[in-house]
Symmetry: C2
Subunit: 200 residues, 2 copies
């Protein structure tokens, strides 16, 4: 025991948060104890509420507090024939913030990773396949992460869609805007050459 | 609303933690939702328990779950005539981990900072003075932080102790062990010259 039982227990449990080690957990615990107790209690309540009330949307697998998420329950988007496949709810938020895409999403909640026991079923591809078969889908946009696993997942999903004769696209990879060429890594630069577009 | 009401509320409240901004709060919230819900619920419970059960030791002002903290309730330490004054409970833990000091502590829970409304009474100096007057104290060791406020607080406390004819000392400041001279800042280096000790 380093401090007292409740403080030690709190410091230990705070370390389940990403990027929080023993030292930051200690700092957080003391900060919570030193500030108004009410705000710490509010944090406890909000964690508890989120753990209890947040489930998954029955259509797109994104986080939702009811049967459907905000996007799937929006009539304007329900009629869209474009579906964008992403790995996580944070990706949905990132894409939504651009206001570029007005279609629906399908959230894998991960990527194919057989070694971790994540096969097609675990990332909901059976559900996606049913959706593609039963609904009018004009285009499937693959926006998984440009990592080895994300690319593999995208290829796998592309195969499913091609078998169903549905148009599939992959978001463009290349030099980010505002970046300088010489600070971009080689792989990205290669991609930006492979994916070059003609200037009309 | 960016995600859903409960998630937004959680992300907002996580930002009361030190060093946590909107992005890390979002990462933490999603990580809590994605992991086993039980571990998030455990975190909520532990925050709640700590907020409810952790108070202050009636003797030294350190965090305690009962009337006295672990150190003040230890009979071996109760008889010690040395009192070490520190700013925070984390400082107590740091000193305890050296196993160098076997006396008692007095935790200010801050430092003198009149602009923030922290006067002598707010950092418990009335209590410390009563303690110095009523108990046998052979030495008061000032281990406040080597910052402007910490130094000012140390001077203030030293004055109180001197009036009561109690021996006061300040922990040594100088070049940290394992450090290299040329990477040490000038103020620290000056201190290490002023505080030089004769080699017998």
């Amino acid at each position: 025991m380093k401090y007292s039982p409740h403080i030690d227990a709190l410091i230990e449990q705070l370390q389940i948060l990403p990027g929080v080690g023993p030292r930051s957990a200690q700092r957080m615990a003391f900060s919570l104890l030193q500030a108004e107790r009410a705000s710490g209690q509010k944090l406890a309540t909000r964690i508890e509420s989120a753990m209890t009330h947040v489930g998954h949307c029955s259509v797109c697998r994104n986080y939702a507090e009811g049967e459907l998420c905000g996007i799937c329950s929006n009539p304007k988007r329900q009629v869209s024939e474009q579906i964008c496949v992403v790995e996580s709810p944070a990706d949905v938020a990132a894409i939504e913030s651009t206001a570029q895409f007005k279609g629906r999403y399908f959230v894998l909640m991960g990527h194919l990773s057989p070694l971790d026991g994540l096969g097609p079923k675990e990332i909901g591809l059976d559900k996606l396949e049913t959706m593609l078969k039963s609904q009018a889908v004009s285009e499937l946009i693959l926006a998984t992460n440009p990592t080895v696993e994300g690319e593999a997942t995208a290829f796998y999903i592309a195969d499913i869609a091609k078998d169903l004769a549905i148009k599939v696209s992959r978001i463009a990879h290349g030099v980010p805007l505002g970046g300088e060429l010489d600070s971009v890594d080689g792989t990205t630069l290669s991609h930006s050459f492979i994916g070059r577009q003609s200037v009309d």
